[in-house]
């Protein structure tokens, strides 16, 4: 098993664990944590997909010159995507946490089952 496969497999495993947690745990905070785990998994998958074994990070500095870049570095796009995804994930997580706070303030509960007044 190559590192890439391992990374991707681990990533998917994390996604599944995260989703399982998010879908089974009733506590809102733990759900949010589970989602961050899943997000991490997705990010790992992203990295893994862009990974080329034996190459270096796509940073043009002394170590890697522009001329060599095409041959030496891994695909930079997934890396960029991961960065964006992390930022967005952070934003969403922050928003969810804010929601969790407000929910707790108004209803004094963190159980997702208590917020079912809207239904049907």
């Amino acid at each position: 098993m190559t590192l890439v496969t391992l990374a991707i497999a681990t990533g998917f495993a994390l996604v599944l664990i995260g989703l399982l947690g998010a879908l089974t745990d009733r506590n809102i905070l733990r759900m949010i944590v589970a989602f961050t785990i899943a997000n991490t998994g997705v990010n790992l998958v992203l990295i893994g997909v862009g990974m080329l074994p034996g190459r270096t990070a796509p940073i043009l500095d002394e170590a890697v010159s522009v001329a060599q870049a095409a041959a030496r570095i891994v695909d930079p796009v997934p890396q960029a995507l991961v960065l964006t995804a992390i930022v967005i994930g952070l934003g969403v997580t922050a928003l969810m946490l804010a929601y969790a706070l407000r929910l707790h303030q108004t209803r004094h509960s963190l159980d997702i089952r208590t917020f079912t007044e809207l239904k049907w």
């Binding site: 089974t24 997909v49 862009g50 997934p78 969810m96 917020f115 079912t116 007044e117």
Partner: protein, 1040 residues
Amino acid sequence: MVSAIFILAIGLGAAFLLGLLRDTWRGLAYALTLAALAAMSWIAGSWLVALAGGLGPVEIRTAGFAPPFAIALRMGLPEAALSLLISLTGLLSAVYMRGTLMRLGRRAMAVLLIAVMALVGIVLTRDAFNLFVFLELTVIATGGLVLLSADPRALGAGFKYLVVAQVISILLLVGVIFAYHATGSLNIDDMAAANLVTLKGGAIAFFLMFVAVVAELKPFPANGWALDIYESAHPAFSAILSAALSAAALIAADKMLSIGGPEWLPVASSLGLVSFLGANILALAQDNDRRLLGYSSIGQVGLVLVVLGQRDILGASTPFIAGGLLLAHAVAKAGFYWLSGLVQGRSLMDWTALRGHPVLIFAFVTFVALLLGLPPFPGFYAKWGLVHALAADGRYLVLGLILLGSLIESGYLMRWFGYIIKRPQVDLPPLPSLSKRAVVLTAVAAGWALGWIWGEISGYPNLLLSIPLLFALGFLFIEWLPAWVKNLVAIAGLGAWFWYTFPGYDPLHLIYAAIILVGGAVILVASFDAKGRRVGFYPPAMLMYAGLSMLILAQDSFAFFAAWEYLTIGSYFLILRGKKSEPHALSYILFSLGGAFAILAGLALGAQGVLPFDVADLAKAPARLAPWIFALLAIGFMTKTAAIGLHIWLPGAHAEAETDVSPMVSGILLKAGLFGLTLLLMIMGKQSLYGIELTYVMLWIGALSALVGNLLAAFQEDAKRLLAYSSIGQMGYALFGLAMMNHLGWLMALMFVINHYIYKSMLFLSVGGVAKRTGTRDMYRMGGLITLMPLSFIAVLIGIIAVSGVPPLSGFGGRWIFYNAIMSSEYRLPMVLIFLSGPIAFLYLFRLIHTIFLGQLKDEHRKLKEAPLWLILPQMLYVAFLLGFAVVPGLALRHVDAYISEFFPAHALIWDDITITSTFGYWSPISIMVVVGCIFAVLFLWLLVLNHRAQKVKQFNIVYSAERPFRPETTHFAWNFFAPYRKALGFMTLPLVTRFWQAQTDLLHSTAQVSRRFYTGNGQTYAVHMLAFAVAVYLIWMGS
């Protein structure tokens, strides 16, 4: 031209700028927000104008590189239109939310700007990952904007939304990365060009992206989270969610489909269909206004998805059709949500607050019409095109399901409208806010403008510009005038239009034109009786007349169908005006729309994609389809004539309508169905389906209608219901005559058209006048009115003699022609029913005249006056006409007779000076009149000589087994008049048809009630739904 990227830049920049402002400078912040949104709208608008002017789509390369090295945006016509829609919705919502935004400050405004910007971004971007980013921005912004709501429940809804959004984002992100891996590009066009779905791993990558994007459409049933937001969010935000987000998500789905290729189109169609049907069914069970609108949104988006999925056959017309549906939906739904912000209560009944605010009611009507795709709105053109394309390509299942879904949708929307107009008004008046009202009215204006635009680009004559329609709409602007002025205008308009179009009619059309226009004017004379302004009467009435008069002028199928819709809608509003007419108006509009859909499907099948399609070309329909076309059209028309099985709407609708509306909808409107049938039979002739001749089936339907209609009429206690049931019977006769497909059968049917107009209008007017005076329609509560209301009595007397066909009045002519007609018909068995139903007519006619005018006068009626002059006047005109028509039927009929000879040369009548001769018999109306008149006069004189000194006695001076009557109520024999008859034949009046249709609607409702339990309100459950939905789509895809 300003680059489209500035739309994004302005949104983003302004949001940043807001962050720099002091929190207390709220006015400035608000102004900045509005300015930014206006600027965004202006840029989108200028692009729209330019692109519509013929400019090609423009690619915008950010960072100066071509994809895949940089993100590309595209501004084409659809993008420009949707950008404008989104930014305008944002702008109007911002205006609408002024109070909320000012209270919450610049952060809220910034989030709003981000939301609009992100939505425009979704529209513009051609980059898959960029799409993800904008979607996530939308999610975050939505999460923020949900909190604008004053409803504390919004908090939970927002969180549920975020949970599901997380799941979606995981799917999307994984999909995007694998798609990138497979194609080496993030650009959507590159992915499409690389044929992503055929690459290794590409299919699953596409699947993930597709599911994620489709999930943003909130497809049924994975949409519980969205509904909670719709229900609890600020209405102006719901407007954005429903109009702008849906539009953005749809264009994203469209982009995905461009990657997926034709293989994925059926999947999209099925998902769309499930959404459209499922959401509409569930909406039936809703009583919260915003949740209902949410379901409706989901349904509409599903419909557009179906259109996208049918792109393979729609081809270049896809944007026109999808755009028509989408824009109509967006404008209507945004309008609805804005309107819901004016209404203070949240149940559907709380909307009764709108009553008494004609402008808001008009707004509501406009939105409903937009949603349902009624003419002249874009949805009408779109559905027309869609149905024709589907029919031409043989996608009957899709076609059928779309029409079914539309019918269900009209069901709950029309029911809601009925509540608003008729249910007890709640004590919560709509908010007085002027700016909010202005926003709603902007949506109304936008709706009409879209109607005009779609009319212009449709390739058909613009529906909005036809003179009759404009005339009808014109009454909206003179609603402030007193009723009698409007009535004069209406009568003059009908007369002028008849005068203007007169030279163009052949005899057949002339009969219908005369009944509709001249006959309509005569009935309108009765409307002079109305006092005050009578708001809301003339626009629908004239809309109905406009539809009718356009119907008989229509040449191509489009004009025909549009006219059909007009008259349906107009008459619906008219019927709804009656006191207790709410449920009946609803069943009327449902049956009518169902019938209209059948007609639409029939016309589309006939056209086979060739548009515009001359109705007369139905004759050239391929033999394989012809019987089906015939059946569909016949069913549609028979819905209007209330043939048995489709009749249950009629009694209530006609009986509960206002006094002068009943004759309109009975005397005139029913003729629209007959006109359609006449055309149909004239063009398509006899058709066989599986060896059964369809005209033969119609013969049976006509005969059964005649029998059951008459029988039920005999058992009614309510005078107007009696007349209504009698109409079913009469229309059965006419249908029977037409279906005989011979010369005299047609002549009889046309004679029925004239006769039925006259006597039914007359009877409805006189009975209406009596009901007005007595305050009841129950016949057993009346009695003995002959001396108090002699003119009404004469009208009814002449009317029932004419209806029953007793010589010497004109009804006999119809019977005589009927007998001659059946002599030359090949079919004999259905005659048995007709023979049976003939005498039954006597039962209800005698009941009508006896229980109202004869028998015992009641205490409280002893001082009644004759019906109002304006009601009597048209009746007397009818009496005169009936007598005249009885003596010289040839005046009208001989021309028709000659005209029919063109189609059925055999068995024409011979019109000598006073005798009319057929192949089998002869008939001399004048001689009959003279002979009967002379005998009657002689005998009357003889009786006068003998009994001229008769003592006039009073009503209790009757022999009463040596006793005397106690009260008129117990002496008037009227209730359950035909008890023995009920014993003998009552089994034929079991309400089987009503039960059948009741069972259908019950089934739908219980389905809705059971399946809505599926939405438990738990965010986790919704996330599970989401995943299950993904799996289901996967299975569908694997299966297809």
